[in-house]
Symmetry: C2
Subunit: 237 residues, 2 copies
């Protein structure tokens, strides 16, 4: 989200007394452009901010944190105690030692150089190979490209074909509560190497072309109820 | 539970098609008597057995396990994924290495010697100091003595007095869904040293004697609804 949109979102939420959950595990993984202000920094005590070590140290440690208004924080502590008694104090000590003694900001720079190269591999492959009618974001950070398929193609219906080609993505419907996002996909460039990313895009394009053939033979692969419900792709997850 | 009672419980549960959850974090911490068969070993696939490293290695690792009928296991995996995506794989690797390379059975023997001494300190102090009308279990393992107070004394109502004396316990009501257990308390001998245990019992007895004075002056400290609802203490948690 742009700074302008962030400000507007916060204005609307404040006006209607809406509590905002800002889930920001990727905030430090920006390798282009300027950092945007967090919603938390712009809120009036109505933002719960979630951070994580999962993307910058290790997902296997299961360590994150929440900044929350004190009344909410007390409820979160109670809910955590009720759900699991306690987090792993062992892992909290491991993370404290890591942050105290390790040059973790340098480590993040190393990650950002690596992810920047992977993003570039994905974007250049998409530019070279994607069929007409596809669009995608050009992210300045994080792990994902958000791509939108040509009219009449259903990303969820296409997934089995893609998996058969040994490439996978998360269909856009997973990011909406109301059934939108069927034309969209989240593509990850986090774990594979640039060569694997290029091969993955090649396979993905093969799957899309197969669906386009189907569409041109039998009409839309979107179920009727999903027609016209493509998500506005530009600045979504 | 005696072996006979275990068998009867399982018979009743099987007859009425009841799924049993056997939560057994203390099973290895037996320092007297004979090990009893688990309910799991006596069930016909209707027992979910829960184990834990929390009492024999470290609670801070948050590692336990479940043995469950396969249909239940699939649901447990889904519920875990939904609640937290994943357990800590890091901690699972730590535990695997510990179990592979460390003489952990010897470590449990060391613990059992230590807990046996602590239990003995608690039991001998209770025998010396507890007022007439109190009863308590003599456990062959685990961390706890289950004590029952004289008629008319409410363990939950007494807790603030005990905490003021800087001794604490878990009132018996925490172990029942129906309000029973008000005359009972769970006393832990897990963490304190024998000297601290003896001092704790001394303080606890002070609190009980204070409540007995109250009772003898004003009548029962049990709320009317709890009268006569003392738990059968002998073989409960």
């Amino acid at each position: 989200m742009t700074a302008e949109r962030r400000a507007k979102v916060m204005q609307v939420c404040e006006r209607h007394d809406v509590l905002v959950v800002e889930d920001n595990p990727y905030g430090l993984l920006r390798y282009d452009g300027e950092a945007q202000p967090t919603l938390y920094s712009q809120g009036q005590g109505n933002v719960i901010y979630l951070g994580s070590l999962s993307k910058t140290l290790s997902p296997g440690l299961r360590i994150g944190w929440a900044l929350a208004p004190s009344a909410v924080r007390a409820k979160l502590v109670l809910a955590a105690e009720s759900a699991m008694l306690s987090h792993s104090t062992f892992n909290q000590l491991v993370v404290r030692r890591y942050l105290d003694t390790f040059p973790w900001r340098e480590q993040i720079k190393t990650f950002n150089a690596m992810y920047s190269e992977r993003r570039d591999a994905m974007l250049s492959s998409l530019s070279s190979l994607m069929p007409e009618g596809c669009t995608w974001t050009e992210p300045e950070g994080g792990f994902f490209v958000w791509a939108t398929l040509p009219e009449g193609i259903d990303a969820k219906a296409m997934l089995p074909r893609a998996v058969t080609e040994r490439v996978a993505y998360v269909p856009g419907t997973g990011f909406y509560a109301d059934g939108r996002g069927r034309a969209s996909m989240r593509l990850s460039f986090c774990y594979p190497t640039p060569d694997q990313i290029r091969e993955g895009v090649r396979r993905l394009v093969g799957a899309i072309e197969g669906e386009l053939d189907l569409r041109d033979t039998f009409g839309s692969t979107l179920s009727p109820s999903a027609e016209g419900s493509q998500a506005p792709a530009a600045d979504l997850p």
